[in-house]
Symmetry: D2
Subunit: 138 residues, 4 copies
């Protein structure tokens, strides 16, 4: 199965660095957020409009493995891949690499559910599911 | 005139440090926020409840002077002083010092207006003004 | 086996809230950091001094499950428990709960290795291991 | 005098929004940092390399005026203008605007000094000053 993939570039800021001189570990979750928002946009889903239509996709699980440090002013790539999709959850997988360098520095995943504004779980609409499924043809 | 003063303690985290090995300059604005929220609580104003009653006090101006660095794991004090209060704005002034050390590391101020949920400016209620004025007796 | 446990309190700030009106999911990793630093201090280990002695304990893995939202101005508890300890890694487990409320809102863990300043893995000293083992008596 | 100007684009993330549903006020200082780093790069100064050569330009003063809110998922422009330059300090001025909209949402400035790694003030080299002065021809 071909899995939908998106690459997001981000320049490491002064603000991202911690006491150890490398990117603070929580920052990757912000980059994952930015990366998946752009991935969705690429697939035709503007997350802001999804919210306006009453569908929210909060993170219910997040995981990171930190393999190699990322340093100040590096231009890095966050590669996002659409993982398992069901009517109740969706999984996204991330790999952080240097601009031209294939070493995986950090990898992780997030799992999202679908809910309405009040926080009640709901199932993804057929329309939404179709978008996800159409980009993952065998 | 005696001015109302509040001291807020904060422990510097790994996350607060930047590439230079000192607290990242934007972080102080977060501490100022925490400090003024506790100062208001001390005066009997729970900011969350103020919002629930329809009054918001957004920052319309912020200023910082960075005199000496603050480092990882320091326990620092943020001293907040209630400045000028009018029906349309309020000013708060901050000094950041070490736990036991009188040197001012950072100082700054924020100016806040009063507005409703829709973002329309409104004047502070007499009740709110009284609280502010009562703590600043000559 | 009795496992060493520490409770860290944190007041939710304006800055911690996201577009959904709840704590932004990456923020918990910062609170986990603050919580484990205080837990270590409680055990007699000042992390800053550990670093000065040449031992670093970077996060090599982090995981979060978000069960229930946390909101603005809540005073929450982060309960940290010392998990598995070996000569090469240490695991810490976290539960986030309201001030008086036993519902687990968020839970997670972090795994740390031991390394020197240059980033080379090293084994924990016997002294350090003893501290960890002494607080976990059967 | 023509003043050197640079435009930096940034997409507003979920993480940037606060309890009020607009960009948290401290976040602008991070964007100013990113904007001036890119402006310097445009002028031929890679800030990372400047640091490696022993010259640091820490923020010694920062100011913001918040005029209109910025919201989630907006693509905004940060226009940076090189202000007054002397041998001991440099001033940068920022305006935040929507992607296509001329309304100034936020404006501010930062003042930077020159120092060495130990934190001792030093004067800018003639070479560095020349770069700044060459981009500001009358």
């Amino acid at each position: 199965m071909k899995r939908f993939m998106h690459t997001y570039f981000v320049r490491v800021r002064y603000a991202d660095i911690d006491q150890m001189g490398v990117v603070y570990h929580a920052r990757y979750l912000e980059w994952f957020e930015a990366a998946r928002t752009e991935m969705l946009r690429d697939m035709g889903i503007v997350y802001k409009e999804l919210e306006q239509s009453g569908i929210y996709m909060p993170v219910i699980e997040a995981h990171c493995r930190y393999r190699k440090p990322v340093k100040y002013d590096e231009l890095i790539r966050v590669k996002t891949v659409l993982g398992e999709v069901s009517r109740s959850t969706i999984r996204l997988e991330y790999k952080v690499q240097g601009e031209k360098d294939e070493t995986v520095r950090v990898e992780g995943y997030t799992v999202h559910c679908f809910m309405d504004k009040s926080g009640k779980p709901r199932r993804a609409s057929q329309e939404l599911l179709s978008i996800f499924q159409n980009v993952q043809r065998p």
